[in-house]
């Protein structure tokens, strides 16, 4: 079972209220953006334009694996929580392929009924970007020099 499946199973096994608390727990443990990306963030680089909430996304590689880092405004705990899940699945679960992050992440977590409308639009855009960047990093790892990312 992948880390992503484990988290999804946990979310699916509880009621709506507990699910929201789980999401809040994930939000609280989202790691701070590493020092090396902060200057870029402060310069306004790598901001996800589709999201009304300020979200900055950095995908790097370490030991041949893609690693995802984000910076999310404090006032957006839902976005923080979801990205914390994606980061846990990628960075702790050793995700090497973008397909490991489901497009229907919210449904998989049982959150689709609780988080709707324009919140979803921004979130799907961020997840889409993370997946595209993981794919680009992988292409770079496989054939160095062919990708600019």
């Amino acid at each position: 079972m992948t880390k992503m499946d484990e988290i999804a199973e946990l979310f699916k096994s509880v009621d709506d209220e507990t699910r929201m608390h789980l999401l809040l727990d994930f939000a609280k443990k989202l790691p701070a953006l590493p020092e090396k990306f902060r200057a870029a963030r402060d310069a306004g680089l790598n901001r996800v334009p589709e999201c009304m909430t300020p979200v900055f996304l950095f995908v790097d590689r370490e030991n041949g694996h893609p690693r995802v880092y984000v910076d999310v405004a404090e006032e957006a705990p839902t976005v923080k929580g979801l990205l914390s899940i994606v980061l846990t699945a990628c960075n702790e679960g050793g995700v090497t392929n973008a397909d490991a992050i489901p497009n229907d992440l919210l449904n998989r977590l049982g959150l689709d009924g609780l988080i709707r409308m324009n919140r979803v639009v921004g979130l799907s855009a961020i997840i889409g970007r993370i997946k595209r960047q993981i794919t680009a990093i992988n292409a770079e790892i496989e054939s160095p020099g062919t990708s600019k990312n």
């Binding site: 999401l23 939000a27 705990p77 839902t78 009924g113 609780l114 409308m117 324009n118 639009v121 799907s124």
Partner: protein
């Protein structure tokens, strides 16, 4: 001396809330946010949370909850018919205005907005515990619903035939029709981009100051009356994507500028842009 709002009594300051928040029998403070988890991270100590999606929308059909369900929501939050409900929230009180509008739709009499919302309360370093208060249930009965503040699609079609004013409060990109929907989430999307013909374009947040408070009456008059040519006796309909941002503008026009007839079209662009054969304009707004 600056000119007062048409209905200054509809607003209270963060200071007023701080001084009066312990009167929990007469006053209920309600937080309504865009982010469904924000309240849980900390809030005005006595505040309850009412979520625009999970508490105020019907889970099956596209409509608000019915009167019976609304009565339950009020009752379980200790809101009686004579309770003064003070709304506040994130994003310049965007969702607070939406919850306010829904409460008015059901005819709740005493509704107020905390000017500046959550952002101002937080910036002033006021207390924000995360534990959730509970209050004894109160009986509630919907008495004088106010459907006149809501516009439906057929009414909007009539409205444009008679060339009455509409205010589109979405972003310029949405107004011009450059943005439609996001990949992977077609159910959130709209098939056509653009705006309702003849609508003026006033993004909702232009009515707010940096600190989330409403702009002064003079500044609001400059935007809506002098720049857009709206008049206080006009019959105005405001809309956005799902009717939430436009409830902020509805509040501004109705209570701060004193417009006599303002309606919120909550079907908004997600209904209009998906409807067959309704007229659509694209591009820049046509100056009145």
């Amino acid at each position: 001396m600056s000119k007062e709002y048409a209905h200054p009594e509809m607003l209270v300051s963060t200071d007023w809330v701080d001084k009066n928040r312990s009167q929990t029998d007469a006053i209920r403070i309600v937080e309504s946010d865009e982010d469904v988890l924000l309240y849980e991270t900390g809030h005005v100590p006595e505040a309850v949370k009412i979520d625009w999606t999970n508490d105020l929308n019907d889970p099956v059909i596209r409509d608000y909850i019915n009167a019976e369900r609304f009565e339950q929501v009020c009752s379980q939050n200790g809101i009686g018919n004579d309770t003064t409900v003070v709304f506040y929230g994130d994003k310049n009180n965007w969702w607070a205005c939406y919850a306010f509008w829904v409460f008015k739709l059901f005819g709740h009499e005493k509704c107020l907005i905390m000017n500046g919302g959550r952002g101002k309360w937080q910036a002033e370093g006021r207390p924000m515990p995360s534990d959730k208060p509970t209050y004894p249930a109160k009986p509630y009965k919907v008495k004088n619903p106010n459907p006149g503040i809501r516009a439906f699609q057929d009414e909007v079609l009539e409205h444009i035939k008679t060339k009455k004013p509409l205010v589109d409060v979405r972003s310029p990109g949405e107004f011009k029709g450059e943005i439609t929907h996001m990949p992977d989430y077609p159910q959130e999307g709209v098939l056509r981009g653009g705006h309702i013909p003849g609508a003026s374009s006033v993004p909702w947040a232009r009515a707010a100051n940096e600190d989330g408070t409403f702009k002064s009456r003079e500044d609001l008059e400059k935007i809506y009356q002098q720049e857009q040519g709206l008049k206080p006796n006009d019959d105005v309909i405001a809309y956005c994507r799902i009717g939430e941002r436009s409830s902020h503008t509805w509040f501004v026009l109705k209570y701060l500028l004193g417009f006599e007839k303002v309606r919120n079209y909550d079907g908004s662009w997600t209904e209009w842009g998906n409807s067959v054969r309704v007229p659509i304009e694209k591009g820049e707004p046509v100056k009145a």
